[in-house]
């Protein structure tokens, strides 16, 4: 016990020392970027787009690793045990890190996660197969009003962004629909394409790769998304719905303030690279800039929003 605590303090001291030396010229060595989801998902694709820009701007490699399991909780519950020197950073996702600890004990609390930057979100979108009877969102709402419960929405996971969106939509539109969780965005999209469900709550990113095979009825963004210029937002149609899965970057709690700031600054530079923005928008992502200083305000807003929906979803407040 004594040896291990001695060891920890040495490591901590060393960490502090290097941190103090390197906050201005961060990064001076490769950065490990841990993604809590499988390779090939939205989180991974976005990180892969950040990677070359980060390397171009900082001259240091960014090494992407995957620690997956329990919808991301596996990685987030380990985050604070990692070294806080700015060279281990981890992707974080909303609503996951807010709803998961709310629903049950998953080994971390929302406040345990030291987010330093939020860089993009994928707006929720309602998709239907191209030969669907629903041409507009109004068609779908009318049908749902006439047949309570009959409209089935596929989505990725329980207590996920899609689940939240479906619950919120039901409330705003005054309808009852049925949410069918699938084990990821891909199987959920396949269920829509194969008409196993009547519609799907998905993201703009998933809709883009389907091209003409699906019709997007509405997008939950503030304004129309560049890749879907003809698709109305929920706001235009009279539903106050803006949201989706937000993705950011966190560091272990032991990371000193100036290093957190440095990580945030570098990520901010990546986020303002025109080439990066272009590629992200082509892929259906919406780029947002929430630097370290604005994170508390951003998180408070999102938490309030999700708490209201969580009550509707019946997630127990512990």
């Amino acid at each position: 016990m004594r040896i291990s605590s001695l060891f920890t303090s040495v490591v901590l001291a060393a960490g502090l020392f290097t941190a103090a030396a390197s906050a201005q010229d961060y990064p001076t060595k490769p950065v490990n970027y841990i993604i809590p989801f499988n390779a090939g998902g939205e989180s991974d694709v976005a990180a892969r787009l950040q990677q070359p820009v980060w390397e171009k701007l900082t001259g240091q490699p960014m090494v992407i690793q995957y620690v997956t399991g329990a919808g991301g909780a596996q990685a987030w519950s380990q985050l604070n045990g990692m070294e806080g020197d700015g060279y281990t950073i981890m992707g974080t996702n909303l609503p996951h890190i807010i709803l998961q600890p709310m629903a049950q004990d998953v080994g971390y609390k929302t406040d345990d996660i030291a987010n330093v930057y939020f860089f993009q979100y994928t707006p929720d979108a309602i998709i239907v197969p191209k030969d669907s009877q629903f041409k507009t969102l109004k068609d779908l709402v009318d049908y749902a009003k006439a047949n309570p419960g009959l409209v089935t929405f596929s989505g990725s996971g329980t207590n996920s962004a899609n689940d939240v969106a479906q619950t919120k939509f039901d409330k705003l539109a005054g309808v009852t629909t049925t949410y069918i969780p699938f084990s990821g965005t891909s199987p959920a999209t396949a269920a829509v394409l194969g008409s196993q469900v009547l519609a799907g709550f998905s993201y703009t990113t998933a809709a883009i790769s389907q091209g003409d095979a699906v019709r997007v009825l509405a997008v939950a963004a503030d304004e129309r998304v560049p890749s879907f210029p003809d698709v109305p937002t929920f706001k235009e149609l009279g539903y106050d719905m803006v949201g989706g899965a937000y993705r950011g970057v966190a560091v272990p709690k032991s990371t000193p303030e100036d290093v957190r700031k440095a990580v945030s600054d570098r990520l901010d530079a990546v986020n303002k690279d025109p080439d990066f923005i272009k590629k992200m928008e082509d892929g259906g992502f919406v780029v947002i800039n929430v630097p370290y200083a604005d994170v508390p305000k951003f998180m408070a807003e999102r938490e309030k929003d999700y708490q209201a929906t969580a009550k509707l979803m019946g997630i127990a407040q512990k």
Partner: protein, 514 residues
């Protein structure tokens, strides 16, 4: 035939070399338990960003196909599937190696893998758009019944020991439920510990249940790992070809099954090889020899799992929906390269697609010489390394492999824990395969069941959801056939016994010569 033009493009020396290196790297990674095809592809994705898109895709395809094939080595030689796709290869592969036919088993697996890979790639080239519709016709009820079909294999695997087989399967099903549920997000069977929150990883379970008992037995007994005296170590190519030719119906059927199952997102190589093994056994004249080192078992599973490579690319390239986990990684790589995937890919960027398919075919053919050489080397190392060195090496690999799944020591702990449980159960007569079947198929069955129920409930037609869909009904019929096959076979046997004695003599003689 403008396709031939793409063949010329794929045949550049640099692409050939990349395909060869990719296949070799894939074989080595796949052969190490725990290092799966998904991981092989994910690790090497960044290197492909510096290449042009077609070359990058060729490397990824070659690695993927090599890894699926490489998984058979450890299945045959150490009784541990190197990847989940090779689970069913242990059934007959290891008994063959045990009796000194390891070299033959590896050669058989090579020929079957190459054939399966080619069949899958040809389907991808010529029939991709129509076949992609199969992926969409499979809804939650079909997945549920497919998983049930896989589970019926237990009745065949545990002949004479059905009760223990079923208990093992139930144990496996319970293991598959551990952790946070995908549907409902309930936390189950974690005993309040965060270690089990992420559930029991299939690969960790595979290594633990198959490999650890083998290691403990190696230490506890004096017998050599594999029988060496009189073992032939050559390629035994002629003999293998003769066996494969004698079983070509099985080979082709399994390749087609592999392609079709590969098309289904969410099924994958493990289900494909289990289904084709089950079909091979059911239609064989000598089903009782399956599981005791029958070449037909290896031919079925290895052709099927390599056929899933081509099959899996069908929904990936046509629909933008990954057929298997490695496909998801490759899809992500395509997005980063700026290639628009989805329905437009085949028409708008046919050059890249066809160059890639030819690259896949070239990689698969290269697997024959490379695989034979690596396989021979692997077999000779396994039989010549003394046990005192072999056991620690494999033990070391199991720890590395289980850690590497998620970069997480929890999986290693689960692997060792299940290994010890597996050894104890093995001693009590509970084979690992039913447990693993439960673990692999449990999640597919559970999600399919709950989704079907939810959709059926919304439409107020739950029964129709489960029993009113044509594809489901076909799968149900096959499941029933497999489940009651031992009884049916007995009835047929009894009927045959009433016929003349000479008939039986001819038939059993015929069976032996196969």
């Amino acid at each position: 035939m403008d396709k031939l033009g793409y063949l010329a493009e794929a045949l550049t020396p640099i692409n050939m070399m990349l395909a060869a290196v990719g296949v070799l790297a894939g074989i080595v990674i796949g052969a190490l338990p725990g290092l799966s095809a998904t991981m092989a592809v994910a690790v090497l994705v960044p290197f492909t960003f510096t290449m042009d898109p077609a070359s990058g895709l060729i490397v990824l395809g070659a690695i993927y196909t090599g890894a699926i094939y490489g998984g058979s080595y450890s299945a045959i030689l150490v009784n541990t599937p190197g990847t989940p796709s090779a689970i069913a290869t242990t059934f007959d592969g290891f008994p063959m190696a045990k009796r000194g036919d390891g070299a033959l088993a590896v050669t058989l697996s090579t020929i079957a893998s190459v054939t399966g890979g080619l069949v899958g790639a040809l389907f991808l080239m010529f029939l991709a758009p129509p076949l992609a519709r199969i992926a969409l016709a499979f809804g939650p009820p079909e997945y549920f019944w497919l998983a049930v079909f896989g589970l019926t294999l237990i009745s065949a695997l545990s002949v004479g020991n059905l009760m223990k087989g079923l208990i093992g399967a139930c144990f496996g099903l319970i293991l598959s439920m551990v952790g946070v549920a995908v549907i409902g997000a309930d936390v189950r069977f974690t005993m309040g510990s965060h270690v089990l929150l992420g559930g029991i990883d299939i690969v960790a379970g595979l290594i633990g249940l198959y490999c650890i008992p083998v290691l403990i037995d190696l230490i506890a007994t004096k017998d050599p790992h594999l029988r060496v005296e009189g073992a032939q170590t050559g390629f035994r190519l002629k003999e293998a070809f003769r066996l494969v030719m004698g079983d070509k119906v099985n080979l082709l059927r399994s390749s087609v099954i592999g392609t079709l199952v590969g098309i289904l997102p969410g099924a994958g190589g493990s289900v494909a090889s289990l289904v084709s093994y089950s079909e091979a056994r059911r239609s064989s004249k000598t089903p009782e020899r399956f599981g005791t080192g029958h070449p037909g078992g290896i031919i079925a599973t290895e052709s099927a799992n390599n056929a899933t490579v081509g099959g899996g690319f069908i929904p990936t390239l046509v629909l933008g929906i990954p057929g298997t986990p490695p496909d998801a990684v490759i899809l992500g790589a395509l997005l980063v390269q700026g290639i628009k995937i989805g329905p437009a890919l085949f028409t708008a960027q046919s050059q890249i697609v066809y160059t890639f398919i030819f690259g896949l075919i070239i990689g698969t053919i290269l697997m024959l010489p490379i695989g034979l050489m690596v396989g021979r080397y692997a077999y000779q190392s396994i039989i010549s390394i003394p046990k005192a060195a072999l056991v620690p090496t494999i033990a070391f690999l199991t720890v590395i492999g289980s850690f590497a799944i998620h970069n997480n020591l929890n999986d290693t702990a689960v692997m060792i824990g299940l290994g010890v449980v597996g050894w104890v159960l093995n001693r009590a007569g509970y084979a690992p395969s039913p447990i693993v079947l439960g673990l692999v198929l449990g999640q597919i069955a559970e999600q399919g069941f709950v989704q079907s129920y939810l959709i059926g409930n919304a439409q107020q037609n739950v029964l129709g959801m489960f029993f009113g869909r044509p594809i489901s009904l076909v799968i149900i019929v096959f499941s029933a056939l497999t489940l009651f096959y031992p009884l049916i076979a007995k009835a047929i046997g009894a009927a045959r016994a009433r016929r003349s004695q000479t008939d039986i003599m001819v038939e059993s003689g015929d069976g032996r010569s196969r």
